[in-house]
Symmetry: C2
Subunit: 291 residues, 2 copies
Amino acid sequence: MEDSLHTLPTPQAITDPADPRLDDIRHLNSSDARPDLPGGKGLVIAEGKLVVSRLVRSDFPVRCIVGFPEKIQALREELANEPVRDTPAVYEVDRETLAEVVGFDMHRGLVAAANRVVERTVAGVLSNIPSGPATIAVLEGVGDHENIGACFRNAAGLGVSAVLLGAGTADPLYRRAVRVSMGHVLRVPYAHFQGKSTNWQQGLRALQERGFTVIALTPNTDVDLAQAIASVRRQQPEGARIAIMVGAEGPGLTEHAMRAADLRAAIPMAPDTDSLNVATAAAIGFYAARF
Amino acid sequence: MEDSLHTLPTPQAITDPADPRLDDIRHLNSSDARPDLPGGKGLVIAEGKLVVSRLVRSDFPVRCIVGFPEKIQALREELANEPVRDTPAVYEVDRETLAEVVGFDMHRGLVAAANRVVERTVAGVLSNIPSGPATIAVLEGVGDHENIGACFRNAAGLGVSAVLLGAGTADPLYRRAVRVSMGHVLRVPYAHFQGKSTNWQQGLRALQERGFTVIALTPNTDVDLAQAIASVRRQQPEGARIAIMVGAEGPGLTEHAMRAADLRAAIPMAPDTDSLNVATAAAIGFYAARF
């Protein structure tokens, strides 16, 4: 039945917080740490109507949707004319029940859980990007879940085609990353470079073979971002393909990663200030690359 | 002695968490809510060496600096050749004492408290901006302390001369805003527009009289940001003076504020995505206005 499409199932009411049908969303604050699953990775959790509807429209197989009756109703109305791929269980609960199950008062009143899917490969992600102008993001080692979520939100908003992740990067499907991304981690294609520590030379060569110029964002260069992008545009007047590469907040990109990039470029900063937050720097890179 | 300068005083050791000399930093999680002070506004708190050193170099009169001996020593070394204006009390404490006083384990091991100063006026802030090219920020109603801190961090990094705040904007001197701003709320000049609800027509006229073109960032326009800035540059070829105006996350700018602006401009967004975080949108605005 993989190819068939359905409307969202009729909700069932649950009043007992101990009901095992609610186990997927039990103790949400630790729900994504699942040492019982391979790699310790757990379910994908979506909170609030916007993110839940993005989860339903994503490739992730939705297991259940739980919420206040009026929130379930609003979601059903939004999806009324839009067949969904899965047939998740849909449960109506009241505010007290939901709070007891998830472990805190969930004002948004709507939560869903999905299974993970096999992650894409870098080659697979790249082969899906049409030829012509495109921007992609390369995150070397962004370890903070809010930052990685913000990177995906900014990538989606600013038209980035894909996000490629180094070995030290935080899990984009962690609950907080899903939330901060506004659900865009569920939509923007991404993949990890292979290996326990990324071989940047080899990883970035794959991008370059597909016509991308890799621009490493770093404060330690005299080339400014606008100059770097202009030089790529001169070489690809038919439409620049640019990969914006950023490193961990604090240390920034490693020398190792920067050596594998084509260009280094700085966002010009005022004297005696700090580097920008990594997601903010990436957003400026995406904006500058696009226009 | 207002004009005299000093080196940082010799630290005194304190071992008793109940010592009243530590009252300024007691229960930090609620330290900035001070209903006993006029307007309920409390002390300015700086955490960590970077922000504490920025506080010491700011206009805010430092009352005390408290930290682990090695952190105090590092700060003293940094400031050794740099006379400071105030003579704050300097206290050395161990990790347990500091944790008990502030109410949580403060890994950074250094904290300082300062008095507020009389806030600048919009006219005062504007009159201090030299003629010629300049960017300023106007925040209509950014209510979230992290967002306002991030706006100041981005403003400082991207060379913004001043930040002007509407009535509904959160207090930039709230502890979390100070921290997220990396201390830049203590350095970037700012002022609130007068009145319980801002009269934007009148407030923005003052900017326009000083040569600033006010660009309201909003998704609801066909003019893109780059076009808007290019049009200002054509009118001011000798150096554009641009005010980037942003509204609260969620609702964005009110129609009231937008009507008082000179131009409306959008950061072009990919279809079916959300608006950017307000501090990220502002950062892109600052970047685009500068270059």
